[in-house]
């Protein structure tokens, strides 16, 4: 059975972003979501380091290193961009002004708890804006492979890794399914057509509930 690529997961997540939505994409993999805005829709992207409404990456060699995103990658301005300082930036985050934040995850619990900043006490801990982003955005979505590289479930009953936030995730887009977090339960919304419910459940660390239709998770070749 072929699972979705990271690019395809990002594509799927992008389909749920409304025209005009204010969106923060976590650094790394989630940044890919910006590429797949459906035709006719234009989200406005926020980055923690003080830009709203920035544009795509510039051509290599034409970067301006005062114009970067939270992942320290060069971006561009476009009509309607605004600059502001860090306290105003996180007022946008914490104050509930973002429509969607899309983040990566190590683990998501059925309660909506998220672990995505620390793999334990070894090494140098680093949190950045993750703990702020999980609070405030109207929807906090996660994009992730359904299981770890070792095949262990990432959707779990209780997170074992240090938490980023309690009860904060509302939807998870995985390589196999789209799952909502609702009243402390995982509710399956979409799954790959080739995958049976039981197969999916066996790769999930907590009970998957069904509430209404389960659609086929379909994405283009990318």
């Amino acid at each position: 059975m072929s699972k979705l690529t990271s690019t395809q997961i990002a594509w799927r997540a992008a389909q749920d972003i409304a025209d005009g939505a204010y969106v923060n994409l976590g650094i790394g993999f989630p940044e890919m979501v910006a590429k797949f805005q459906p035709p006719g829709r234009q989200a406005i992207f926020h980055t923690e380091n003080g830009i709203l409404g920035f544009g795509e990456a510039p051509a290599a060699g034409s970067e301006d290193w005062d114009l970067i995103n939270a992942g320290k990658k060069a971006v561009t301005i476009k009509p309607g961009t605004a600059f502001f300082h860090h306290a105003d930036s996180f007022a946008m985050v914490r104050g509930g002004h973002l429509d969607v934040a899309i983040l990566g995850a190590y683990e998501v619990a059925e309660t909506g708890d998220l672990a995505n900043w620390s793999t334990g006490p070894k090494g140098v801990p680093a949190v950045g804006g993750a703990m702020d982003l999980v609070h405030g955005a109207k929807r906090v979505a996660v994009i992730t492979d359904h299981v770890t590289k070792d095949g262990k479930p990432k959707l779990v009953k209780t997170c074992t890794l240090p938490l980023t936030g309690v009860g904060c995730v509302t939807r998870v887009y995985t390589s196999l399914a789209v799952v909502d977090v609702q009243d402390g339960r995982f509710v399956l919304r979409e799954k790959l057509a080739a995958l049976s419910f039981d197969e999916l459940q066996s790769m999930t660390g907590a009970t998957l509930y069904i509430d209404g239709d389960v659609a086929d998770l379909t994405v283009p070749e990318l």
């Binding site: 406005i44 600059f83 996180f90 007022a91 946008m92 985050v93 104050g95 973002l98």
Partner: protein
């Protein structure tokens, strides 16, 4: 994504009975006279909205703007720092007659409570008002040997704000000291409605000079030559005009 509203009537159409409405301005500077008068027009035509809680630094002056809103009996409660003005009769009479409730807040605390509402900070500590009547009933805590009063955030259903230039995404600049509470109220309101002297296309405002980023603005309406409250009062204006 275009936040432009067709006219002033549309701009104030969503304000319902009992809502909390922040109104920008410090005295007359920054007072969104046309938005407030549009709200009065709606009330005169429909009887709504009423029982409003209004947040403003002052309590109106003369018989226009906020004073006219109070004069119509639309305001049940006012949260402000300084309910005095050159001509405060409308508020004073309503207050002394028990027709309007007053929550008096020190000006800096008012500003910070509004910012806190916009920034997702439910409470903070300030030295302001410690040991005074305005701190009564509020938690007090000591930090580094000094006593502070706990104050709570202030949010609103609507903000009515006057800016100078605005683009269709809601990015705003203000004019001199008319800035005052505008940027904070845009942050703290679920729906911030802004009247601008000039409505421009995105890209017309230098990103470095945006004071209120568009994320804090839900609706924008152009009022090309806005009235200045002070000028209206010097001309003894009333709103509506036939109320004289």
């Amino acid at each position: 994504m275009d936040k432009t509203l067709p006219d002033l009537a549309a701009a104030v159409a969503g304000i319902e009975d009992g809502m909390t409405v922040m109104i920008g301005g410090f005295g007359g500077s920054g007072a969104p006279i046309e938005l407030v008068h549009a709200l009065i027009d709606r009330f005169l035509a429909t009887g709504h909205p009423k029982n409003l809680t209004v947040v403003n630094n002052n309590a109106g002056n003369g018989h226009v703007g906020l004073a006219a809103l109070i004069e119509q009996g639309m305001v049940a409660k006012l949260i402000c720092s300084f309910p005095r003005s050159a001509d405060p009769r409308v508020f004073t009479d309503a207050y002394l007659a028990g027709k309007i409730e007053l929550e008096l807040v020190p000006q800096g605390t008012l500003a910070e409570r509004i910012r806190a509402g916009g920034a997702g900070i439910p409470a903070f500590y300030t030295p302001t008002s410690f040991g005074t009547d305005l701190a009564k009933g509020k938690p007090v805590e000591e930090f580094e040997g000094r006593a502070y009063v706990q104050e709570r955030w202030l949010k609103a259903d609507y903000a009515l704000v006057k800016a100078d230039r605005g683009d269709t995404l809601g990015n705003l600049t203000y004019r001199m000291a008319a800035r005052n509470f505008g940027p904070l109220m845009c942050m703290a309101a679920r729906t911030a409605i802004v009247q601008v002297s000039a409505l421009v296309e995105p890209g017309s405002i230098d990103p470095e000079t945006v004071v209120t980023p568009g994320i804090f603005v839900q609706g924008i309406v152009q009022v090309a030559n806005p009235a200045q409250e002070e000028d209206l009062n010097r001309a003894n204006a009333r709103y509506p005009e036939d109320a004289a």
